[in-house]
Symmetry: C2
Subunit: 295 residues, 2 copies
């Protein structure tokens, strides 16, 4: 599925897939079609970066993997819904995602909207119903995930991104788009993992900040890849942002300065892990993968 995946993603993959298997609705019955549409995108693979970050963060604060299971699933549910809605004709209008036809190309627009809505809703159900965790932790996770995903987070970032197609954006504006659209959910991935692992409040804060930096790094790399990689490698259309005249790190700073910026963000993130010692080695490995990935 992703031959370039580093050992850390492979190590966590069974736990991530197990977590997702538990949240996919059972097959059969009159709702099969909407459940098929949900499963189609959820099972389309992808790097599973957010749930892996979540489980690795849970481990970094001394938690057992099972503790982070529902949070990991919830994060991938949210990420998957956002891809389905972002790909819609009225949004980015993409036909290809992860090398396959996008959800609305297979199931039609109406069902794609509904499948996204259902995945988003299911994320909060999965978090709230996990009786293995104390209710206090669960409400904190629901609150954090909703803030990261909502109008001040990911949805707000997508709205700003759409508006940016029509007006010029400077570096501070681009950073805000990335911070909301990508940084918030990466930050929540680590925040939820740290909460699930019962880390102390200051560890939760630091690890959430680490996640936000990694999200920013991820987005800068995305911008760089959009300039340099081919559609075959990316599994989606390449050069799309550039063709649309959308602001990206390379278009505002040039390639070289963008790479310097990326190094800086990466160093910041690495520093935030120092206090967690060897337990944070998987997180460090994930950070390196985000910066060095080629697709």
């Amino acid at each position: 599925m992703n031959p370039a995946a580093p050992p850390v993603l492979e190590r966590y993959r069974p736990a991530v897939e197990r977590a997702l298997l538990r949240v996919v609705p059972a097959p059969g019955g009159p709702l099969q079609r909407v459940h098929d549409a949900m499963a189609y995108s959820l099972e389309a693979g992808g790097k599973r970066l957010r749930p892996t970050l979540c489980l690795a963060t849970c481990e970094a604060v001394g938690g057992a993997p099972e503790q982070g299971e529902s949070a990991a699933a919830a994060l991938e549910l949210i990420h998957t819904y956002s891809l389905i809605h972002d790909d819609l004709p009225c949004m980015d209008d993409d036909d290809l995602r992860r090398g396959r036809a996008t959800n609305h190309r297979v199931f039609g627009e109406a069902l794609a909207v509904l499948a996204g809505d259902a995945l988003l809703t299911r994320a909060f159900e999965v978090l709230a119903e996990d009786t293995r965790l104390p209710a206090e932790i669960r409400v904190e996770m629901v609150t954090a995930l909703a803030r990261a995903a909502g109008s001040l987070g990911m949805v707000g970032g997508q709205a700003l991104d759409l508006a940016a197609e029509e007006t010029a954006v400077e570096l501070s504006g681009l950073r805000e788009i990335h911070s909301r659209k990508t940084g918030a959910l990466f930050g929540a991935s680590c925040r939820l993992g740290a909460l699930a692992g019962r880390g102390p409040a200051d560890a939760v804060t630091d690890l959430a900040a680490f996640g936000e930096r990694i999200g920013l790094a991820f987005q800068i790399v995305d911008d760089l890849l959009d300039e340099t990689a081919s559609a075959e490698v990316l599994g989606k259309a390449a050069g799309k942002d550039r063709d649309r005249g959308k602001a990206t790190y390379p278009s505002l700073l040039g390639m070289e300065e963008s790479r310097r910026h990326l190094d800086q963000v990466f160093e910041d993130a690495q520093r935030m892990l120092v206090r967690f010692g060897s337990r944070a080695e998987p997180l460090a490995e994930l950070a390196r993968f985000v910066v060095e990935r080629s697709s």
Copy 2:
């Protein structure tokens, strides 16, 4: 806004509007546009039936109105998001809602999708962050609301409804569509109100069942009004279901038998309130309004 609203809706209206005011994002900043789109539909008025049912149920089990405030807001947030997405061109393609232009006609399709997503997300945030209620109650409310709104509830009902445009539906199928599309959220309105008011488990179950019956009654009345009322009275297109050849209670049972069916459902619902005595009088009044309304 709604001159025919009965006293019970008017009595609860200040509490409902206060609850909603607390959840609308503050104006200003770069996210103004998506927040405007959210507020446009949230403030479009409407009967506020679901939050009123919630507050009245909270009262029926002896709770104070403040206890039900966040649940009431969450229910209207979910209902509002569902209207925005249902009105989209790829779904019911409606231009008019509550007598005003639909969200996508004013803000465009992309922003309408995002505003719906953000309202849905905000519903769970509002429930989870209300520290006036114990965490155990909040996780139970999040779980119940997500189940009612998700692929086995409202979203599933909408998916079945769309599929029903292409295949013949019999009475059992129509009942399932209504039960999921409308009954589930009405049931959750009463369930959340009973939970917020700290009602005992059996009262929560009974009141949720009452809510589901009221939801079914609401939908039968909707079908009857679609046959008989004018667009001016409804504030939306009339006769639309009939024109599309969609199954409705009147189309399957005829007008007279549909009305008999409605009476039966109403009586069932009334019976479920007996054990709650005079405290359930507002709920009884709401049930009567649902059955007797003309728009």
